[in-house]
Symmetry: C2
Subunit: 144 residues, 2 copies
DNA sequence: TGCGATTAGATTGTACACAATTAAATTGAA
DNA sequence: TTCAATTTAATTGTGTACAATCTAATCGCA
C-alpha cells in the first residue's frame, strides 16, 4: 500500500509543470537568436505588437501580452533607451501613455524576420502536432 | 500589397507566445491556492520532488525541474528557513548538497492534496483535450 | 458644478530565471 | 603521485513577473 492518494502530487502527473518547463525552455532558445537584435524575449514580443500597430497605449500592450504596467514600464523604458520606441502622454487623455515605433524600431523588423524561421528548427513537432498544440493553447488562453 | 512576408512576425502566428502566456496565467492562478501553504509556485514544484524523493541533490532537483543552481540555491534556502527541508553537504562527495525533507515538510503534503483538485477548476479543458495537451508538451520536453 | 469613484500608469517589494563567473572538491591520465 | 580538467554549488548581475500601493487625470452623477 503506497498511498496512491498522493499520486496527484507527483510532478509527472501535472499538466501545468510541462507547460511551465516547455515555455521556459523555448524562451531560453530564443535568446541566442535575439542577441543580434539586442532584444530579450519580453522585449521581442513587445516589438511584435509595435511592428503591427505602430502606436499603442501601455494598457493595450498589456492586454495583448498579458502583462501589467509593473512589468511593461521598465521594458518600455529599455526599448526607448535603445531607440526602438518613444513614450509620450496622450494629448486627449493624459493618463494614457502612447508608445510609438521609431524608424530604428521599424528597421529592426527586417532583421527579425529570420528569428521565427531559425527558431522552428528548435521545436521538434510535426506541423499537425504544432497545429493541435496551438489550438489547445489558444482555447485555454481565451477561456481566461 | 500588405507585405505578407511579415506575417510570421505577428503575435497571433506564434506558437511560443500562447505557451508563454498560458504558463504564466496558470502559475498566477496557483498562487491563491498556495498562499495557505506559504509556498510560491517554484517552491511548490520543488516540494513535489521532495515529497516523492525525501532526499536529493541540487543537481537532481535541477534536472527534474529544469532549473539551475542560480535559481535553486535561493529557493532552497527559503524552504530551509521555513523548516520544510534541510541542506547538508554529502559525506561521500562534498561537492554535492543533499536536500532532505523534514517532518514539517512531510506534513505539508496533506495540506497540499487539495491544491491540484482546486486548480483543475481553473483549467477549462475537456479530459481529452487535457490529455492531448499533456502528451504534446511531454513530447516537446523530452525532445530538448 | 463639484466631488467621489474610476482609470492608467508608475513605483515598491519580493521572488524567480538564467548567463557568466567563481570556488572548492573530485577525477583521471601522464 | 600530481596537477590539469571536470564537476557541483554558490555568487553576481540583469531582466522579468506580479501583488500592492500610489498619483494624477478623467468621469459621472447628485
Amino acid at each position: 500500500m503506497d498511498d496512491a492518494k498522493y499520486d496527484i502530487l507527483k510532478l509527472d502527473n501535472q499538466l501545468c509543470f510541462p507547460l511551465y518547463a516547455v515555455s521556459k525552455e523555448i524562451v531560453r532558445r530564443y535568446q541566442p537568436l535575439l542577441d543580434p537584435l539586442d532584444l530579450t524575449y519580453t522585449q521581442y514580443i513587445t516589438m511584435m505588437v509595435m511592428w503591427e500597430k505602430k502606436c499603442v497605449t501601455v494598457k493595450e500592450l498589456g492586454e495583448k501580452l498579458y502583462l501589467d504596467s509593473g512589468t511593461l514600464t521598465p521594458v518600455l523604458k529599455k526599448l526607448e533607451s535603445k531607440g526602438y520606441v518613444t513614450r509620450t502622454r496622450s494629448k486627449d487623455d493624459e493618463r494614457n501613455l502612447m508608445v510609438t515605433l521609431t524608424d530604428s524600431g521599424e528597421a529592426l523588423k527586417d532583421e527579425a524576420l529570420e528569428v521565427p524561421l531559425k527558431l522552428s528548427g528548435c521545436v521538434n513537432l510535426s506541423p499537425d502536432d504544432a497545429k493541435t498544440l496551438y489550438v489547445l493553447l489558444k482555447k485555454l488562453l481565451t477561456s481566461f
